[in-house]
Symmetry: C2
């Protein structure tokens, strides 16, 4: 069983790292880029029977800084072989 | 138009940051966690008409270190896609 937690800066918070990537891409000749924002994500391998509430608790209390960040959680059953590694 | 690029360490590469989070969660009393792996993702806002090939080129040539990392790209018209990994 696997959970995917995405953590990103709130839209209202400046993302200098993303801006730097955006400018760099332009200066390197990659055209058509309007904006870049960078975030992080966590692939969490869970014991069977884990609930979405558990994952959300971890995301909220540990993985996210609520002052400047927001998160989304997705829980998936382990349908793929690599999930059993 | 938006693209979502996920970059993660290859499965064969050790992820000490993920391991630390995994151990920390256990020591903090969060049970049922088997493994954690951390990656990063980029939300790229594109001019209309951008192609999946363009995004893949940027992901491969700029955003990913091919020695230790791998990436996936998702192109969407608008809004945020469901996690597909």
């Amino acid at each position: 069983m696997k959970a995917l937690v995405h953590v990103a800066l709130k839209k209202t918070v400046l993302d200098p790292q993303g801006q730097t990537i955006c400018r760099s891409l332009a200066s390197m000749g990659y055209s058509g880029i309007r904006d870049v924002r960078q975030g992080k994500y966590f692939e969490i391998e869970l014991e069977n029977g884990a609930t979405a509430e558990q994952v959300e608790k971890i995301a909220r209390e540990v993985l996210t800084n609520p002052v400047i960040e927001e998160f989304t959680c997705d829980l998936e059953e382990s349908g793929r072989p690599e999930a059993d590694r």
